[in-house]
């Protein structure tokens, strides 16, 4: 079973890298751009057929290593 984890900085945490990307796109003439935040994408494949168990294993990985919960938030998506 395969999952994607998307990690982004929390709303209140400054994302300077995202700001630079945003400004560059605006400088390129993309006027409709309203807001941009950047983050990390991690693909994880598990030897587990029970979706609930698999998701809880991924949650555990996020909390223990993949995500710094003080500054980051995450989403788990089955792919």
């Amino acid at each position: 079973m395969k999952f994607a984890v998307i990690i982004t900085l929390k709303k209140d945490v400054l994302d300077p890298q995202g700001k630079v990307i945003e400004q560059t796109l605006q400088n390129m003439g993309i006027n409709s751009l309203k807001n941009l935040r950047q983050g990390k994408y991690i693909e994880i494949e598990l030897n587990e057929s029970d979706e609930k168990k698999a998701k809880s294993a991924i949650e555990n990985m996020c909390k223990k290593l993949l995500v710094n919960l003080i500054i980051e938030q995450y989403k788990i998506i089955k792919i």
């Binding site: 945490v13 400054l14 300077p16 890298q17 630079v20 290593l65 993949l66 710094n68 003080i70 500054i71």
Partner: protein, 225 residues
């Protein structure tokens, strides 16, 4: 006094700190990250560098290494722990120190000498400095922008857990004298028990007038006494 320096793949200030400790009469041992046992230590130093190439987040992988379990046990039983630069980032990732170290506000790697004010000397790492002493140490980092929640920040200020703040040569502490965007110009913090110090500046680089200055010596002599 016995000290141990923990070495990870990617550590690059381990020899500097070992030289400083030995020069100042510590009996120092180097400890590899895969080891499961710590030598008898009064002080454990987690040195600067780029452990594991800063993969995932600075310090995140090193914080899960074998030897860190032993460092955490030692820390919880009162052993003095000093984390410098990447060592500070590792201590944050273990949870021994609270908060987070974000990318520098201007997105640049900063390598330069900065002025620091010794804002609190009522701890084992700074007692040989006078309160409000201004010292000059080197910083060299990309993620040194300290951030923490409001209530923790208040606790740090109220309980005198901030030994160093960035300032200018006259001791002025404000945004213009803040190199990396750290909240309240924080350059280093202590845990509640005051036995764990994490700091971004490098005191081990300032122990000899031949190459820099001797402003870092006070930190090591404080520990010795």
């Amino acid at each position: 006094m016995n000290s141990s320096v923990i070495v990870f793949p990617g550590s690059n200030c381990d020899r500097d700190i070992a030289t400083a400790l030995t020069k100042l009469q510590f009996k120092n041992k180097m400890v590899w990250h895969k080891d499961n046992e710590l030598p008898k230590s009064d002080l454990i130093v987690i040195p600067g560098g780029f452990s594991y190439g800063d993969y995932l987040r600075s310090g995140a992988i090193a914080a899960k290494s074998n030897i860190l379990n032993e460092v955490i046990k030692a820390a919880n039983s009162g052993c003095l722990i000093l984390g410098i630069c990447n060592g500070f980032q590792i201590l944050i990732e273990t949870g021994l120190l609270k908060g987070a170290l974000l990318r520098n506000k201007d997105l640049k790697f900063i390598s330069k000498d900065v002025y620091l004010k010794v804002t609190n000397n009522n701890n084992k790492f700074c007692k040989n400095y006078k309160k409000n002493n201004i010292i000059r140490l080197n910083i060299a980092h990309n993620e040194g922008n300290y951030f923490t929640q409001k209530d923790h920040l208040k606790e740090l200020e109220d309980k005198e857990l901030i030994p160093f703040k960035y300032c200018n040569k006259n001791g002025l502490i404000n945004d213009s004298t803040n190199p990396n965007g750290s909240i309240n110009n924080i350059a280093g913090i202590l845990n509640n028990g005051k036995n764990i110090l994490g700091m971004m500046p490098h005191p081990e680089r300032m122990i000899d007038n031949l190459i820099s200055n001797t402003d870092g010596i006070g930190l090591f002599t404080s520990i010795l006494n």
